[in-house]
């Protein structure tokens, strides 16, 4: 039969030999077992800062830095006067952290491109990439090689210098925003006490590069895309910041490691305490990420590719990588702010914190992919109205509630189970009422606009029949 003919032409998908999978599983389990063994047999359960404690890679770096400082102290050099006394540990620590973050993002991007395409494939009842390498795992590599080989065009009439800059500029905020993320109790590259502020400031820099790209392309589609981006990012920065403000209020710190520590101490993830902030933050982030349902800045069906319409080759590849990197960042920040970061109700003593965080960010990333695979796109004005009429008032209400709760928390000397439990119940109730009733208040009617099924008729006719049926408009 015809379908068997077609299957006969199909090349079978490459399969990973089961032996390799077993070896991989043994390695993974061995790693976890080694963790537990080091933690419990060697240093008696506590995270006490020994360099061989691989549950927190920060300890090894600290040990290294201490050794370097000792060398600096033993042999004072001329650089001490210029740069500072412990310049060696500063330089090596910064370099190590940067390499760590870079390699994590690079590796995670390669894997997550594949994961996203496979997941979307499953959602769209097709297989997804499964030809290059085992299970199609090398597809991102093949794509990158292809992009590097392609010609990088600069359109006629484009501003050459400004056209060259954005792919480079846009990488900077994405990379630097990873700094304050705590991967384990002692494992943050840039553990500054204004981490939240820093994140908001750095991540909004992306707008600049996007606008530059759209402006310099000398293309109407690109300009439309960048105008949309700017309008949208300015709007969605506000609910996003207010949502984060409520996190800051309840935890009393802008330091990301402190925010996670608070969740670990109270054994309570902030998604339970701050549902409105969580939803507001997540939705605003997807708007900033240009992902469906909010991908109006590069709406394929309308403005082709938006601000990066004219970019080809690896320049486009950089935009694409940054887009995915930002999605990954948002997933990480959601996991950090609202899903407890590296904490897992005490299990973080057994499992390395960075693995816990990775599991959580994968879950958040899955939701992003899921939304992308399911929903159509808003229109620009609908999206703006959603921000200004819905998300901003909601997040302000939420801020008010959380402010009252935070001040109660500071004065009321009751056990955490009572206060936080009460607040959780109150906040979920408020979320339910606000999400539903505020939409109604600003004019949303669930069943408005006529029937959602075509009317069926047996009669035929022209306009008279239409008037007779009452369907003529």
């Amino acid at each position: 039969m015809s379908s068997t003919l077609r299957q006969g032409r199909r090349r079978p998908a490459t399969r990973v030999p089961p032996g390799l999978m077993i070896v991989g599983a043994v390695f993974a389990l061995g790693f976890l077992a080694a963790n537990a063994a080091i933690g419990y047999v060697v240093i008696d359960g506590r995270l006490d800062g020994q360099w061989y404690d691989i549950r927190d890679l920060g300890f090894a770096v600290q040990e290294l830095k201490a050794q370097l400082d000792a060398i600096n102290d033993d042999q004072p050099g001329f650089l001490d006067d210029i740069v500072g006394q412990h310049w060696m540990s500063y330089a090596v620590g910064a370099l190590l952290g940067a390499i760590g973050i870079l390699s994590f993002i690079g590796g995670a991007l390669l894997v997550l491109i594949w994961v996203e395409r496979r997941l979307i494939g499953r959602m769209q009842i097709r297989r997804g990439p499964n030809r290059v390498g085992p299970y199609g795992l090398l597809q991102p590599v093949a794509d990158a090689v292809k992009l590097i080989q392609k010609e990088v065009l600069t359109p006629d009439g484009a501003d050459r210098i400004l056209f060259l800059l954005p792919p480079a500029i846009i990488f900077v905020p994405m990379m630097t925003a990873w700094g304050p993320v705590p991967w384990a109790p002692n494992m943050a590259y840039l553990d500054i006490n204004v981490g939240v502020l820093y994140l908001i400031a750095v991540s909004s820099l992306t707008t600049l590069a996007v606008f530059l790209a759209g402006w310099s392309s000398n293309n109407h589609y690109a300009l439309l895309g960048s105008m949309r981006t700017v309008a949208m990012m300015i709007s969605y920065e506000i609910p996003l910041s207010i949502a984060l403000l409520s996190v800051v209020l309840i935890t009393g710190s802008m330091q990301l490691s402190e925010i996670v520590q608070w969740q670990a101490d109270h054994n309570l993830w902030l998604i339970a305490l701050l549902p409105i902030a969580m939803v507001t933050y997540f939705f605003s982030s997807t708007a900033e990420l240009n992902r469906t349902p909010n991908d109006i800045a590069e709406a394929e069906s309308e403005i082709v590719a938006g601000f990066h319409t004219e970019y080809s080759g690896m320049k486009f590849g950089l935009f694409y990588a940054v887009e995915l990197g930002n999605a990954l960042l948002v997933a990480t920040l959601v996991a950090t702010f609202f899903l407890g970061g590296w904490s897992l109700f005490g299990l973080e003593e057994w499992i390395p914190g960075y693995l816990i965080l990775f599991a959580k960010l994968s879950a958040a990333y899955f939701v992003l992919v899921w939304l992308r695979g399911t929903l159509p796109r808003f229109r620009l004005d609908q999206l703006m109205r959603f921000a200004w009429q819905y998300l901003i008032p909601l997040s302000l209400f939420n801020l008010l509630i959380v402010a009252i709760e935070a001040s109660l928390l500071a004065r009321w000397d009751a056990p955490g189970l009572v206060t936080l439990g009460l607040f959780t119940v109150v906040n979920w109730g408020a979320a339910y009422i606000l999400f539903r009733d505020w939409a109604r208040r600003i004019g949303y009617q669930p069943d408005a606009g006529g029937p959602r099924r075509a009317e069926l008729t047996q009669q035929v006719g022209g306009i008279e029949a239409a008037h007779r049926m009452g369907t003529a408009t």
């Binding site: 006529g450 075509a454 008729t457 022209g462």
Partner: protein
Amino acid sequence: MTTATEPYVLNIGPQHPSTHGVFRLRVVMDGERIQDMDMVVGYLHRSMEKLAEERTYTQNIPFTDRADYLAAMSGNLGYCLAVEMLSGVEVPERASYLRVIFAELQRIASHSMANGTFVNDAGAWQTPLMYMFRERERILDLFEMTGGARLTTNYMRIGGVAFDPPPEFFPAIESLVSDLPDRIDEYAELLIDNEILLARSRGVGTITAEDAINGSLSGPMLRGSGVPWDLRKAEPYCVYDRMDFDIPVGRNGDAYDRFLVRLEEVRQSTKIIRQALDGLPSGPHKTDIPLALRPDPGEAYGRVEGPRGELGFYVVSDGGSAPFRFHVRAPSLINLSLLREMAVGSSLPDAIVALGSVDIVVGEIDR
């Protein structure tokens, strides 16, 4: 500081993700608002109508495949009906039933594609399209099984159909017809009540019933505007007068209503196929006609309710073996003529959704 704005011209197409082929819109825009629009067609012109004057009546059937390449069966059927009218060739009953089955299968395939790309134009990331392609794929398998081709089928012949379906065709179509209602519900559930799709397509590209009739619209565009007009009922051809089915009609005449009408027509087509399969008589599947058919001088206009509307073929004979004149009434082109009225004054995303709801096939527009 004062800032001045001025309208600019945006060229949408001929290569654009949402023009569904090589179709071009010159849009005068003020920011995101459309002030004026100009449609440029002709990029896919292949001069079919002139070429047809040099070929015999049977040799012209493949042209009707390639006009509306998403509904080749309907094109075949309309042309064959016209030539049969012209030459007085009788069609066996089994052939008429097979024609109904294949025309309705084609309607399901075409509407699946139309709805899928419509939701894509509204911004979905291919997912609904893929689900609708699942059904279309099985239908194309049935075409391949019977006629050997999937897209440009060239299946109908003057006086019948080219081949009788093979034995494995019937279990395959039985399982398709029994699966289809559930499969349609599957994605209808995802889409009909989807707030984003409602927000994007409700009230977009609205055409009143009067405008639709005055604009000579047909098919789902006309029915979406509330006019219950369907050639299968108004002027039944083949054996449609023996089939029991309903005409779906919209209430608002907007893009969403056209989507609903198409969705419902798929259900009705399933019903028709069911009845046609039950009533399929045995007998020959075509009448033999002379190799070079020479109808008496005269003219005929055969029309069918294609997936996109009234698909008409006007054939004039001067007694020779090739038509003296061959003209196609292409529903895509005529339905598209109201796009300017739908789009001017709205924004660019709305215009794209309105264009998607027209369901154009550029091969048919340009011919």
